[in-house]
Symmetry: C2
Subunit: 406 residues, 2 copies
């Protein structure tokens, strides 16, 4: 979908575990930062789209999460719409906010992604991840795992933590078999993103890891070690979207243009090929009239390290099967031809589910405006964000690719 | 917000308890009916907005409820966005679908509201209702009720079932004290709506009740008897929204025009005055350039009988305090000056939370197209729907008033 909207301001909390903060505290912090960054006040907001995933499952706050956060800040009256699309909830809020501005129905719209998923009772957190699948399908998967466990005399897989890592591991093994991709190449993604994360004050993890560190970490489900899986964390990210008219009024020096954004939902695809990414990227790039290799900086949904490699291929940075070679070439590291996940990605910046999509927008806005500090990609003019969520049939329940420019 | 969108087709399941049906079965039935009613096929849908409230709480299906329903029917690929606003989730889906068509971004958009809230373990159902409030506030309310119970030696209120009936009862008592409204007048609302429901094959309850029947029913919380509270039920309702261009292409004889729709969220209002209704109705009517008394048929959010009376006043059918007299005059009964809740309303048609807003649209579409059978309001040209959800601060978390015309 071709959009005509601008990012006037962004804000986010650092991603980490916040045992003493809830949706209200985290959400408010990101909103205050984004509104101030836009040079606006809370009263200027005309509508709000709020993405959250685990408010109900972990914090017992269902249904009206956006109102709870915004009313606690004194923001009321405006339409507040809660949206959900699992790990793509934040991007869904952003997409919808941009659509409302593009339509001319509003001039200033808030998009907020907020998540509180860590819990002292870890089983609550792990159970939350299961919510992003068709429950009927989930029951079958659990039964299958139990059967295998009985046959093998041991429990295989990450099922207890997140069924999604089992799915990613299976996609990774298929990629290895089919294209000769190696475990070392997956580890290179985590190592690269750890370097990027070390330059991002908002990243959950700021330690630099070597490829060996990643390989030697605890095995979660073959071939994924713990450092190849995105961590559990809390946080919030927000963006204020404005019309061209409002951007001029505000005298924003470098508004970031939302050029296009495409969302597709679960489809009958080959498991693990990330075909929805390909579909979204192809359409979003065509609408923007650019190619994947015209991008200056990219944020991919690296919920696991293999997902970044498969993502390279799906968005068209390299042909299918050559993602492993691409990470090995160094092209996607800061200083390379096309830096990917300069924020540290989901692997190192963290992945507070509903906030992730908007944190990607936060990173790319800073990059395009030359505000990314030590991790700045010099002269970045075009950027791409890819955020996916849930599982429906054989593919993501919701996939979104957005092209930003300056 | 001024809209430019048309209702091409509507469909709904009968509202009732469906022990053997889930979100998929209920949602699919409504979607199939709506799409067929529009003269379209599933493949013509360009996007879908899906409202659901209790999928997570009751059916363990979180986050991707729309995908689960639509993928089960073979609908994939299109953007599917899950929206939530407690009891206003269905209207939120409708509002968003209309906005997307108004914007020109899509020509054919599905709005679906689906709910499975009945459960063999009733405590699950009752717990679900608590999800539509700020959990922090809820804890305070529960503590207050417990304190009162200890003081009085008995548990007072409907807290165990739904905190919302306590809120409505408190608003009802305030209305009685301030304006002299009587319990009989509240009972007249339930009796009238039972007559309307008896004419609606989709209504959960089809028995005609007298005012005495209502008054003699079991007391839930003073002054509300059971028949003055909306029941628990499951079901789904859907509408297909199309652009003017598509409506012409389809050759729809009598497209229903969505003239305006206004949404407001929780605000610092006087409890129980339904000020958000007033705000939404005033703005929606002004945008449509009409007055409340120009309406031919109205669906109000009668989650409790007093809410309909307070609603009359809030939308401007009569001055504040005169809602009791209005019901007594017979003006809001079929055959009267301005029939309200010809469907039977939430009280008798039923209130499967996320489906309710779209069931109102279903009823008004039939009325405006002359398809309402025995409950037809002859020559209806203008209609108003009011749907509210949740509690935030002292008012509804989300309130929506929509004006439809033909």
């Amino acid at each position: 979908m071709k959009f005509k909207a601008n990012i006037a301001g962004v804000g986010m909390t650092r991603f980490m575990k916040y045992p003493d903060k809830g949706l209200k505290e985290l959400g408010s912090e990101a909103v205050q930062l984004a509104v101030a960054d836009a040079g606006l006040e809370l009263k200027d907001l005309e509508a709000a789209y709020v993405g959250n995933y685990a408010g109900g499952l972990v914090a017992d706050q269902h249904s009206i999460r956006g109102q709870v956060v915004l009313n606690s800040m004194g923001v009321g009256k405006i339409p507040i719409i809660n949206v959900e699309n699992a790990c793509a909830s934040g991007s869904t809020a952003f997409y919808q906010a941009c659509a409302m501005v593009t339509s001319g129905l509003h001039d200033v719209v808030l998009a907020l992604g907020v998540e509180k998923i860590s819990h002292e009772d870890k089983s609550k957190t792990f159970a939350a991840f299961a919510g992003a699948m068709d429950v009927d399908e989930l029951k079958t998967m659990i039964a299958d795992l139990a059967k295998k466990a009985q046959e093998n005399g041991s429990v295989e897989g990450a099922g207890g933590r997140s069924m999604f890592m089992d799915i990613y591991a299976s996609a990774a093994r298929a990629h290895m078999e089919r294209y000769g991709t190696t475990k070392e190449q997956f580890a290179m993604v985590s190592a690269k993103n750890s370097f990027h994360g070390s330059l991002n004050p908002n990243a959950q993890f700021q330690e630099v890891l070597s490829v060996e560190d990643v390989l030697n970490d605890r095995l979660i489900v073959d071939p994924l070690t713990r450092c190849m899986c995105s961590p559990i964390g809390d946080g919030a990210a927000a963006a204020v979207i404005v019309s061209d008219k409002k951007a001029r009024e505000l005298g924003i020096e470098k508004p970031v243009h939302v050029v296009s954004s495409v969302m597709h939902s679960g489809w009958d695809h080959a498991l693990g090929e990330l075909d929805t990414v390909q579909l979204c990227a192809t359409e979003a790039l065509a609408e923007a009239g650019v190619g994947a290799n015209d991008m200056d900086v990219i944020e991919l949904h690296d919920a696991s390290a293999p997902a970044e490699i498969i993502g390279y291929e799906a968005i068209g940075l390299c042909p299918k099967g050559e993602g492993g070679k691409l990470i090995e070439s160094g092209a996607t590291k800061l200083g390379g031809r096309i830096p990917v996940n300069t924020s540290g990605g989901l692997l190192r910046k963290g992945h507070p589910v509903g906030a992730t999509g908007l944190a990607q927008i936060h990173e790319l806005t800073l990059q395009l405006q030359g505000r990314a500090g030590k991790r700045q990609v010099e002269g970045a003019k075009l950027a791409l964000a890819q955020n996916g969520g849930g599982k429906s049939g054989n593919d993501a329940a919701a996939m979104i690719v957005t092209i930003l420019g300056i």
